[in-house]
Subunit: 332 residues, 3 copies
């Protein structure tokens, strides 16, 4: 990023994503989105689900539009998911490895954005390691351009949150009586943040965030959540257990953070630890998994796992969001 | 690859690729495919050939399907060939540089595959440096998913074999009376393996494998082939001469392997050495060529060369195979 | 490049790009193209412009054709621009990172080209750091294949020249009375070369090339242009001011070349230096910009700047050229 570019997080980032009629025009964060809007997006996403082996759902609602995949951080699955979502709505998708090109040449983010805008790339999917970048871009694009956050620092990953919530809703629709436990490096997890924000808006019964003390989040980042450091306590009678991917380099190098084996023993989501949860609890993971570290391999492959459903729902949720902002854009 | 993943080559890999009605549902190897099936594929491929300058052949038989190009080894031409083949059949094609992404993150092959499957990528084109990977994947995908081997270790490159055989058939259809000579590093060549397997099934007259002694294959890997270390003897009255790409780093660093100049003098396919072959013999090479090492440049550009026809046939053969497995998939 | 490949610049490169009826069949350079032809291309390009927020212009004139983007030098914006141009004309576009693949394997340029040709990639967009490569390729492809130069050494970047000229024409159509000033490292600039060639063919009033003495071009490369080393003199009463991107590594390391701050003070296109130009002068830059080095950021974002229009025109110009050579190709 150009040092002169200010990407601090502003108070109005959550409202920035809604237009005057409260329609979604960017997707920057799940924070501040109403339960009505969240529910509408989830309902739309259901429409794009077809059975394995059938042709994937397909429309022409973005025909003629161009989606730009701007990943300033490497990614395979999220990028592929947005790529397929865009194409299955009839859009052209341009994958831009901004990592290895413009930025290396010292170009500012905004100049890259203005260039893409001038090429009539009207839907920009942005992943960036720095907090504030998607909102920063959204504040600067032309009125007809939409920005979708595809992963932002430790802060936000709204389409991941939506796919997680959709998956939970498919299996456990009674949110008011639901206990969801998220296990892992909560402090650094944009996945935990977005899922928590959406689940709380939808009135989840109880949200527990389980981590070693060194990975515990600041409580004010997750208002209303229970912060727990004992796995057995955290999983007790949970309906949904979500293991987070752990950065291997973070384990064992930090004071108070256990090594790999110890991590699995104390915080691994396993057949053993799942004994504390409800018998019909489902197991989730955003992928890619470190089998044997944060999750037991046979559990991930077993009947309680909904991990591949999360991936399928990911394409559907991204289609729903792209279609929604595309329609708002066309109507303006 | 995840160390816990077993990709050993199993007895039934050759049968794994056929369904209960002996229809092709994966393409893992040419070994074990019947001459009827091989001939059908070659006939289909002919259908996709158009004259240079005309529009390439195009159908919508894979419209709505998604092809994933999973290259765990770098490739330009094979990947481009599959990419064009898929798109010219109406499919969406997703190119995945698995090299530089998931695998680096320590994700297991199967988790990558399950992820792509969950995104409804139903046709997976796989290249991998390790033997057994395509079959390993084929054993684990859902019933409706098809796996195509795009190059596997030293072992198998079935679409390359098919394009080679198609090119030979176009020029020399009388297989029973045909002598085919393959020259180069036979021991490490998946190209030689696949061509040999297919040609022998189709009842080729004589197959000669010519290499320096250090590159000679184990005889039991090529049953029925004549293993020769003298180029003049090997080329004598040959109808078809196929030079293999040599890895430069293998020449001159190995006991009993000649240096570049010596290699060309003793094993180079050249105007001089082609004097031993039949006057109307054709010259082949899978590309990319090391001109002046395994093949003489002016010979590669001359009238006996069918090297660019091989490339054209490559797209056609891949269209034929993709179309075939796609139809089986749709019928299931 | 293979050392045996001769890519010297030949006398007839400029004529090579026209067929017997003076139709454009390759685009290698703006040199030698008639004002009639240039004007036709610019007129065609206007047809592909739509308002921001509207759907981009779209035809099916290249439906069924395949465009190959062969970038032997890295690029994001020019590649994206050609990619979108091809797709918006209905073509399949294949992006080939030739940098990191074939060439590394020692394959010759011509073998790469013959391979793509054999895959029925009929429109080849080529960027290369070596002078003569696009013409070299054009001399060797089949009659129906078209080559478009997307940036060649310090020598030529014809679609950039066209988009610059189109942008100028939109704002300042009275070319006979126009003064255009180009500022920067003229000596190494293919952008300056192509713009100058086209503008002079179209009878521009006055062309001034402004640079530090160390970056001044050989006068015979720019016949008819005024070579100036004082910015104030060069900008005096100019209608159009084009700043060139400077390679940072060239500043401050060369005798007689000023450091960054000094460069901006003496050769920066800024609010201050623009006082010398006409009050309604427009400001251009090919991108990506080094803000604060060759151009002042607030000027680039201000009302006199037409920089994003250049980008929009870039897609339109490339569509016009692709469509034109595609039609000639189809008619042959």
């Amino acid at each position: 990023m150009n040092p002169s570019e200010t990407t601090e997080i502003l108070e109005d980032d959550a409202t920035l994503q809604l237009d005057a009629n409260d329609n979604l025009r960017h997707l920057l964060t799940l924070k501040g989105l109403s339960s009505t809007l969240l529910t509408e997006i989830l309902d739309d996403a259901e429409y794009y689900l077809t059975a394995p082996g059938e042709l994937p759902a397909r429309t022409q609602s973005l025909a003629g539009r161009t989606v730009g995949n701007l990943f300033f951080e490497p990614s395979t699955r999220t990028r592929a998911s947005f790529d397929l979502a865009g194409r299955r709505l009839g859009a052209d998708v341009l994958n831009l490895d901004v990592n290895t090109s413009s930025r290396k040449k010292g170009e500012s983010i905004l100049d890259t954005i203005y260039t893409l805008e001038a090429m009539q790339i009207d839907l920009m999917v942005v992943r960036d390691a720095s907090a504030g970048v998607p909102a920063f871009i959204a504040r600067h694009v032309k009125d007809h351009v939409c920005v979708l956050n595809a992963g932002e620092s430790d802060l936000s990953h709204p389409t991941q949150g939506l796919l997680d919530i959709l998956t939970i809703r498919q299996h456990k629709p009674d949110f008011a009586n639901l206990t969801v436990a998220i296990v892992g490096d909560i402090q650094h997890s944009r996945v935990a943040m977005s899922a928590s924000q959406g689940l709380q808006t939808l009135g989840i019964g109880e949200l527990r965030l389980i981590s070693p003390p060194a990975f515990a989040p600041d409580a004010d980042r997750f208002p209303g959540a229970m912060i727990v450091d004992n796995l057995a306590d955290g999983l007790k009678d949970a309906d949904v257990v979500m293991a987070l991917r752990i950065q291997r380099e973070r384990i064992g190098n930090l004071d108070g953070v256990p090594g790999i084996d110890e991590y699995f023993a104390h915080y691994g989501v396993s057949h053993a630890s799942m004994q504390h949860a409800k018998p019909d609890a489902i197991v989730m993971h955003p992928g890619p998994m470190n089998r044997g570290i944060e999750i037991e391999g046979t559990l991930a492959d077993g009947p309680s796992s909904v991990i591949t459903e999360q991936v399928t729902n990911g394409v559907a949720v991204r289609m729903a969001v792209l279609d929604r902002v595309g329609k708002i854009m066309a109507a303006r």
